[in-house]
């Protein structure tokens, strides 16, 4: 406000714009084309810059922060390799619809296209993995471009937006004007749902005998958990959630069914198979959810609410599409449905019988340490109130099964892209955003090595994350597929001979570390880790090597047709 109309250089404008966007944290790494920005940053107190150790780490931290808080994550990296290192993180945020603004330095405008030192066409490279991207060619466009980028990243379906800033643009000056409003004629997302469509949905739902709510991450990003809870309880409708939707409805509520899909609960998938009205909210009928498309919810009248029209009828043809914000949809639905409810007890009893038929269980008899036990124990000790970050693989699926998520924005996981290496930096980012609840990370021994350098960032910033390393000395999920579908050829998945000593690794980074090999030791270590506040702590849980995640729908199979146990029990030993 006070700087409006003053002449500022590009890097000063950059920070002034971030202030106007209420940015608290930048996850970044300096470099040649950003020297001017870092010169300005040197004097700045009110925006905190977190120095990462690899630009990929910055993007996952920004996403972890964004997912935990709902605010856009901000990344600042230099041109060339700095920019290309962000590609995986941007693609991850795009697939999981996380709001993020990535600023990349660029070589001076006059050199663009000349194969200059540290030049990469990052706008071209990221075109298909960003919601939109910009190359700023004139310092006079910088403020408006930044305003547009934050608006795009956070409005409608959230996603990553990239701004490429050539060095000369950051060095040159102009009068600063902050655009109070922004209007992009090609971007008018439908927020309010069409009322007639919602009325039709309400009518259909009111008469349903076997309705089922199928909830995705859209409910979390729309902050619609309260509306969902009120609606599900009012209409007595069971709720199954996708990986990203977990926490939208409290996991301990009798109507909560946990996750559906490939590693979903047996009763969720049976319910999808048997329901008469399926209400999909903020979910996109991903192949990991639907399995074989022709047999997905075959008896159901399908209602689909999504903010992004491209998600409607993309994978599955639905009967009643409703484009709009999930919060608006559920709020109107709550009003439009009658107070007297169809008798749903027989339906709930049927679901209960499936639950009893194939409950989630694991071997507790042999005294060995299992991932399921660790996650179950963390769930109990945190009463389901932690912010849980995962990496990708078996531990991720077990987290969905054994952690009882009580709150929205509590699972931060790479769902769409399945990015190993996501977990550690994402947990660090989440811990900057959330300080009143513990941030715990479940990560495999494969994934932790993919961004292990960020442990330095956590140590340096004294970020109190709990790193629960699920160490089975295998790339467990790939191993599982090798056992089930690839003739037990364990090709390059056994890490036993090549893994480092994780305790020594952690200690070398200055991180406190514990090891646990038995359930009792694990219990004590979890307790100690949760009580530790002086920085990150790593617990190396040496779990059994060859456990598999069940139940499981083989890829391309019908979700009603689940594998419940090993095909060949001999492979266990």
């Amino acid at each position: 406000m006070h700087l409006s109309g003053h002449t500022l250089n590009g890097s000063e404008i950059f920070f002034e714009c971030l202030r106007r966007e209420h940015v608290e944290y930048i996850f970044g790494y300096p470099g040649g084309s950003l020297l001017k920005v870092y010169e300005t940053l040197y004097e700045i107190q009110d925006i905190r810059h977190i120095l990462v150790r690899h630009e990929q780490g910055a993007t996952h931290m920004a996403e972890g922060y964004a997912r935990a808080t709902g605010k856009p994550g901000v990344v600042l990296v230099t041109s060339g390799p700095g920019a290309t290192n962000t590609v995986t993180g941007i693609a991850n945020a795009y697939m999981d619809s996380s709001p993020m603004v990535v600023f990349t330095g660029q070589v001076p405008s006059s050199l663009i296209g000349n194969d200059a030192f540290q030049e990469a066409d990052i706008v071209g490279i990221t075109r298909s993995i960003t919601k939109h991207n910009f190359l700023v060619k004139d310092v006079k466009e910088l403020a408006l471009t930044i305003r547009k980028a934050f608006f795009l990243a956070t409005t409608g379906r959230p996603g990553p937006v990239l701004i490429d800033m050539p060095k000369d643009v950051l060095n040159s000056s102009c009068a600063f004007h902050w655009p109070e409003s922004v209007d992009i004629r090609g971007f008018k997302p439908t927020i309010k749902c069409h009322i007639n469509q919602v009325e039709k949905a309400a009518h259909k739902i009111a008469k349903a005998k076997r309705p089922l709510l199928y909830i995705g991450g859209g409910v979390i990003s729309a902050e619609a958990s309260e509306e969902l809870r009120a609606f599900a309880i009012k209409q007595n409708i069971p709720v199954t959630m996708t990986l990203q939707g977990l926490g939208a409805f409290p996991g301990n509520h009798p109507l909560s069914m946990g996750m559906l899909g490939m590693h979903g609960t047996y009763w969720s998938n049976q319910a999808v198979n048997a329901c008469d009205v399926l209400i999909a909210v903020g979910a996109r009928f991903d192949d990991r959810v639907t399995g074989k498309i022709d047999t997905f919810a075959p008896h159901a009248f399908k209602i689909h609410n999504d903010i992004d029209p491209t998600n409607v009828d993309k994978n599955i043809k639905v009967d009643l599409p409703i484009v709009g914000d999930a919060k608006d949809f559920l709020a109107v639905l709550l009003e439009e449905t009658p107070n007297t409810v169809e008798n749903r007890e027989p339906w709930l009893a049927e679901i209960q019988s499936w639950r009893e038929q194939c409950p989630l269980t694991y071997n507790m008899e042999d005294g060995a340490l299992r991932t399921e036990f660790v996650i179950d124990e963390v769930s109990k000790q945190t009463a389901g109130h932690a912010v849980v970050v995962t990496d990708v693989g078996q531990h991720q699926m077990w987290t969905s099964q054994y952690y009882t998520f009580m709150n929205p924005r509590s699972i931060i996981t790479s769902g769409g892209l399945g990015t190993m290496g996501f977990g550690l930096p994402a947990a660090i980012g989440a811990a900057f955003g959330i300080t009143d609840r513990p941030v715990v990370l479940f990560c495999g021994d494969g994934g932790i090595m993919m961004n292990i350098q960020e442990l330095v960032t956590a140590v340096h910033c004294k970020t109190p994350i709990k790193i629960f390393l699920i160490n089975n000395s295998f790339l467990g999920m790939v191993r599982q597929w090798q056992e089930l579908f690839h003739k037990e050829k364990y090709s390059f998945t056994d890490l036993a001979d090549s893994n480092p000593d994780f305790i020594k690794v952690a200690e070398a980074f200055g991180c406190k570390a514990l090891a646990a090999e038995t359930p009792d030791a694990a219990k004590a270590a979890i307790k100690e880790a949760l009580a530790y506040k002086d920085g990150p702590i790593l617990v190396d849980f040496r779990v059994v090597k060859k456990d598999m995640v069940f139940p499981m729908v083989p890829a391309g199979g019908s979700i009603s047709d689940m594998l419940l146990a090993r095909l060949n029990p001999k492979t266990m030993v």
């Binding site: 075109r127 298909s128 795009l152 090609g186 029209p309 409607v312 009828d313």
Partner: protein, 158 residues
């Protein structure tokens, strides 16, 4: 089925690339694409010809709409519209066939835009179907080079 889609887009660098990238990333067929400035210099009109069934074409239109630089997407296929393509073609010119070639140019309402001792360059404007036929008919006379603009299309006026 063939669809002809008219898209108003921001007249900025990279817009054509965004559209083309989206088609390839989503695995959509892209038969032809042409682009040019409209009466408003900030807006370009893109004409896209694609072959797809109804479900896919719905996705194509939605994905086009989703791009931030697209302002309006219209499927002209089932609406009254005019569709034209420009063909420029250089043919071998021989004394014996000269007469026939000139007659055919008249039949197709073509124009001679350049003529040399041994070659003739003509332009023909018409629907993509007519352009296909033109090329077929002239093929036996020896086509040295040809260039097609891809279709452009517009709504018929009220």
């Amino acid at each position: 089925m063939k669809h002809i889609i008219s898209v108003l887009v921001e007249n900025k660098f990279g817009t054509l690339n965004r559209v083309a990238t989206m088609f390839s990333a989503r695995g959509f067929n892209l038969s032809s694409i042409s682009i040019g400035e409209t009466e408003d210099p900030e807006i370009s009109r893109m004409t896209i010809v694609t072959f797809a069934d109804d479900q896919i074409i719905n996705q194509v239109i939605k994905q086009l709409n989703r791009l931030i630089d697209t302002i309006k997407v219209t499927d002209l296929t089932n609406q009254p519209h005019v569709e034209r393509e420009l063909l420029l073609m250089t043919l071998k010119l021989s004394k014996t066939q000269q007469h026939e070639i000139f007659e055919l140019i008249n039949v197709f309402k073509g124009k001679v835009v350049d003529i040399k001792q041994k070659s003739i360059t003509i332009e023909v404007i018409g629907s993509p179907d007519k352009i296909n036929t033109t090329i077929d008919i002239f093929k036996p006379y020896g086509i040295k080079e040809l260039a097609r603009s891809g279709a452009v299309a517009i709504h018929r006026g009220e």
